[in-house]
């Protein structure tokens, strides 16, 4: 009786190319739209997780291992698994519907998401979100 598919909720994408990847809901469309007459949401997620960083890594290696590749996608609610975790990064301004209209807008949006996610990873918070889901 509590709505839980809200912005900042961490979810796991279940289907498609990004199956098994963790993502965060940016915007949800419960009623659907004319093009997508079903409940769906705009998510930003991790396409390539950052690698495990160990203490003896040099600074250059740490920087290389902490890279994140991000994606932006509209997914159906039935294709995501909500979790009890949340991730509050402010991505509303960079990830919006018009960013999905053309390929290069999507790429710039994903690059901005990548930058924000990388700085969040480097602070060490939300560690669950940046670990790969093993299955």
């Amino acid at each position: 009786m509590v709505k839980f598919l809200k912005p900042n909720k961490a979810v796991i994408v279940l289907q498609g190319r990004y199956a098994g990847r963790k993502a965060v809901i940016i915007r949800s469309f419960d009623e659907g739209t004319r093009d997508r007459p079903y409940g769906h949401c705009l998510v930003a997620g991790i396409a390539k997780y950052p690698k495990k960083v160990i203490r003896k890594d040099s600074a250059k290696k740490t920087a290389k291992k902490s890279r994140v590749k991000a994606f932006v996608k509209l997914v159906n609610y039935t294709h995501i698994m909500p979790t009890r975790y949340t991730l509050d990064v402010d991505l509303k301004d960079v990830v919006n519907l018009e960013a999905l209209q053309s390929r290069d807008k999507k790429v710039t949006a994903a690059k901005e998401v990548k930058a924000r996610l990388e700085e969040r990873f480097k602070t060490g918070k939300n560690r669950w979100f940046f670990t790969k889901l093993r299955f």
Partner: protein, 112 residues
């Protein structure tokens, strides 16, 4: 801890309450619609049969935990649950949207 031994009397009363919901309330049967009602926060109570596959049972329970909806594990398999709903088919999970005249929402989740 073993679950509380469901006496015959309380089991029958659940069946009675379910029958009343079927008659006077709104409900939906089946896994896909149960998840849909949980996502849209329309569900008030979920009932799962005892032979529901454990992965599916855990998934429904997790969704219900997120949505803060009670889950009741029916003391019977999907055949019995279908019969309790008055249907001639098997029902593995069902979601009660509006209990109608029944007090199933008030009595059941406290009992768990």
């Amino acid at each position: 801890m073993v679950a509380v031994k469901k006496t015959k009397k309380t089991h029958e009363s659940i069946n009675n309450r379910l029958a009343l919901v079927m008659k006077s309330g709104k409900y939906t049967l089946g896994y896909k619609t149960v998840l849909r009602t949980l996502r849209s926060s329309k569900a008030k109570l979920i009932i799962i049969s005892n032979n529901c596959p454990p992965l599916r049972k855990s998934e429904i329970e997790y969704y219900a935990m997120l949505a803060k909806v009670g889950v009741h594990h029916f003391n019977g398999n999907n055949v019995d649950l279908g019969t309790a709903c008055g249907k001639y088919y098997r029902v593995s999970c069902l979601s009660i949207i509006d209990p109608g005249d029944s007090d199933i929402i008030k009595t059941l989740p406290g009992e768990q």
